[in-house]
Amino acid sequence: MSQPLLQVEGVEAGYGSLRALADITLHVDAGEIVTLVGANGAGKTTTLRVVSGLVHPTRGIVRFAGEDISRLPPHEIVERGISHVPEGRKLFPHMTVAENLALGAYSRHARARMREALEEQLATFPRVKERLAQLAGTLSGGEQQMVAIARGLMASPRLLLLDEPSLGLAPKIVEEMFAKIAEIGAKGTTVLIVEQNVVEGLSISSRGYVIENGEVDRTLGSSAAELLSNERLRSAYFGL
């Protein structure tokens, strides 16, 4: 086996004196979709923030394509090919959809192929195309999430981090959203998702991790099928 695209090893991190992550170890292979599940406050968002450099680990290491990126600032991590779509579809609300997308192509390598990337995104998200001239803050929730993902993809990332893409969306839109994410994965982008919709998340994933109190539950295997059929998880998280 070649090395994983993303490797997080024994990461501890927090906010000031609060320790949000105690010991996170996980990996994502190139071409995979992997889902992180866990209760509110377990540390899923913080894990993604560590990967994208918004929070620096106090212990442990994050490797991307073999390189230690744990001390790099966010813009250098984006430059290396990791794109983070934050929780709560944080768009720039007073800018148009087109401006939001353009801002996704900040990194040097992304700027070079901006036009191409925009065409790809508009093909994947036809609804976004109709809204290009509209202020991002005036879109519906589902549309905003599509724009947020499209903006993340404008950087032409090798790894896309999605934090709760289905949060607050109507069930029908959620279904559409996961179909899009599966499509993005099938086109070759590696995806790491944090999801409350555990069943939908794991269904499009090859593997998953359960995070509890800032630690990856090592008693569980990481295959998505295994996690989906695990009795304890079914009652704890899936509400089944």
Partner: protein, 320 residues
Amino acid sequence: MTRSHALAAAAFAGALLVPFVVRSDYTLQVLFRLFLFSALGLAWNLVGGYAGQLSLGHSAYFGAGAYGLALSTRLGLPAWPSVGVGILVAMLFALVIGGVSFRLRGPYFALATIACAEILRLSAKNLTGLTGGDVGAAVPALFSGQVVRSFYWSAVLLASLAAAATLAVTRSRFGYYLMAIREDEDTALSVGIDTAKTKLAALLISAALTAVAGSLYASLFLYIVPDQVFGLDISNEVAIVAMLGGVGTIAGPIVGALILETASELFKNVFLEAHLLIYGGLLVFVVLFLPDGIVGTIVRRRTLARRRAKPPRAPDHAAA
């Protein structure tokens, strides 16, 4: 050339012709202040408006321009190159102040900028060997002959330069990065914008323009003391000019300067030292009733009216 270009060109030409019509030195001095504070408001706006970083310590750069001019000529440098020294010192201050305060956000950032400017003011008061302290420092004349006219023209040029710089910034990628930081700094970080570098670049441009204004102001008075050029008054007035007119717009600071300078001319004999009260009152009024400022409010109304044909959907922000 669009209509607004033509309008701007006409306004610029008209402003340059004013001294041929207006003969009173007093009126020209009032107009000098008007353009000087337009320039200052525009310079502040790059940081406080477009990037959304509420600096309340711009007197640091104003004072750097004023003392840069005063002290370099004392070392034997001619007057205009000394203005250049003032610019460099202001940019150096900006590097240090930005490096310290841009780590902080919101009100903490604003407080840090006040603190930095206050440190400079107190240093200028106490380093009597260098600055002359409260006794003050003589400032060389930048012009001879028809002095007030020349100051007026310099202020018009500086304001135009600041407006042109603002226009260039708003049309560039850099301008979008600044606005992205204002909208949401965390998101700006996560799309990969080097927010620290971007904010610092805006502050450097802003500080350089502010320093030139400080030099002009100092040279008009020929004499400066620390409280006058490093004081909170200057910092506040600069911020209020931009906020009153409308942050993040080009016309805003000019409108703000027009209102503030007119008001302070009209009321200066009535209130004397009560200007701080007026500034405070204005600031509260703007923050409460005109958060977008005068120009900002007009622009927003017009945009809304244009969009009314296609009603926006209710934004449903999910809890972050």
